[in-house]
Amino acid sequence: MAILLTDTTRVLIQGMTGREGSFHTGQMRLMGTKVVAGVTPGKGGTSQDEVPIFDTVAEAKAATHANASGIFVPPPYAADAIMESAANGIELIVCMTEGIPIQDMIRVKGFLSDFPGVRLLGPNCPGLLTPGVGKIGIIPQRFSKPGGVGIVARSGTLTYETMAALTAAGMGQSTVVGIGGDPINGMSFVDVIRLFEADPATTHLAIIGEIGGSDEERAAELVGAGSRLKAVAFISGRTAPEGKRMGHAGAIVSGNRGTAKSKEEAFRAAGVAVAETTDQIVGLLTPD
């Protein structure tokens, strides 16, 4: 078992014919992901590497029974792409696009409240990967292997690093989930951790957070309230100055809010081991 992405996941890609979309669709398929359709308005009826392309999500869904979507659409159109998938019954929407206007995402969140069964991952995220099954997004599969560690992270490269270090130490992963670096996003740490908690294949949990917002504090509360998973947390940005955006639109300390210190303290108070450097993550997850 795994979370979110399993062998019943049938993926359509919005923006499959663009540079990023076509490259990463190829990578997803190499890994065995069931990519059943692409959606690019105006290119319906054609195909790319034997994957049929449709003009709309509605047509793609009707013809292929896709139940998940990966979005590589440019920022001005990405919010609309998310809503198109949600309105057409796609259950899992994974948006890789970086640079979507904040107000667009706020309106998307409002729109999604009418679709309680829909899960959005991202935007500005690397997507998710279930080793041995498939991926939606851009996580490099060669560093993964099947196992019991669930990874949930805001940062892409730190996700890959953690995954690679775990794999090198012989610890495989159940599912690797990037929730993205934007201030307004879909699934939170809490949403993902709840799924890991309910997944029998997941035994360990690595939480990779960073400065900004208070999603990590909420995650600490959840884990602190009782968890069967052996967990470790790492927070990036403890030396970031107040008021400066550190690369991710959401990575900013405002006044005394969103600091690494507050997040680390929340995890410690919840009984979760806190790694001071990424090199310590593996050690803290292994017994002794």
Partner: protein
Amino acid sequence: MKLLEYQAKAVLASLGVPIPPGRTASNGDEAAEACRELGPVAVKAQVPVGGRGKAGGIKLAQSPEEARAAATAIIGMDLKGFRVPLVYCEAALDIAQEIYLGFTVDRDHRNNILMLSAKGGIDIEEVAETSSDSIARLHPDPWRGPLDFELNQLAFAAGLGAHARALVPLIKKLYRAIPELDAVTAEINPLVVTRDGQLIAGDAKLETDENAAFRQRALEERYAGTIALDVFEEEAKKRNLTYVSLDGEVGIIGNGAGLCMGTLDLIERAGGSAANFCDIGGGARAEVVENALAVILMNPRVRGVLINIFGGITRGDEVARGLIAARDNLHMNLPLVVRLSGTNEEEGREILKQNGIEPGANGWEAAQRIVALTR
């Protein structure tokens, strides 16, 4: 993009928010002239930070001579790290009451939040800490905006029912900054109630979303670049780099925001301090590395550089070749430590060694090495 007070006021006035008459002045003569025209004025430093009054950046002037003296004292002063380039001379208000009114993004609720409080004039975070109950809050529906009755309720909840008839339309005008201008903060603090019962913006703060710059061209063209950035940030922006200046001596390049932040943390842990944050993105392409290195080497404080790359899709040998080329093209002779991991890491490290760069075994080891080399 953060706007200065006089810019924010001009924008809010265009949405129908009442503002006092005012003039910018870049020297004493202009301030004196503004005072002759407007009568008693507040002379206010134009810098993008809060707490200007407490820091000595706002002075009241009754006469043109006082305005001249105030402007001369304020212009050029250093206010929380910003040199004051000009002042805004604004007709002094006859204040009966000060209200706080502001919209900002509430990350926890994944929505905008409107806050209204009868305790205006001081920092809202301070109000939130000392008397959170005095703040009335509303999360407006992002598709239809706040409704009249919601705002009316809010005004009464804040103890401002007596002003509800004037407040409701004023808040709707301020709200326009969100859907129309992609504001992420639109704040009037204080919103002044004058002795004759008028509502007027005493101060204004407006910040727009950089991700929306593509559809806010007019605003961008008019106001981008008026707040002087740090010279290195300016240069980095020209080269499309994600770069933040810091005040240490170790230049940093990383791929990915989280990895790069983590690298800054490692430098401090090793006893050093970083000169910058620079995220070159997942791909770590050769020309991006060279651009990043070029900007970092312009900073005379930099005594060495640490490059921390995890290659996912990108191959380590390609990254290594790109790094060597960048170093050679820029004739770099400061210490350079590279930590390269991920795809084809062995080949990449071998190339680094052949070119005189001893690769770091891991991030922590590499950070300790560069800190030792730059002591």
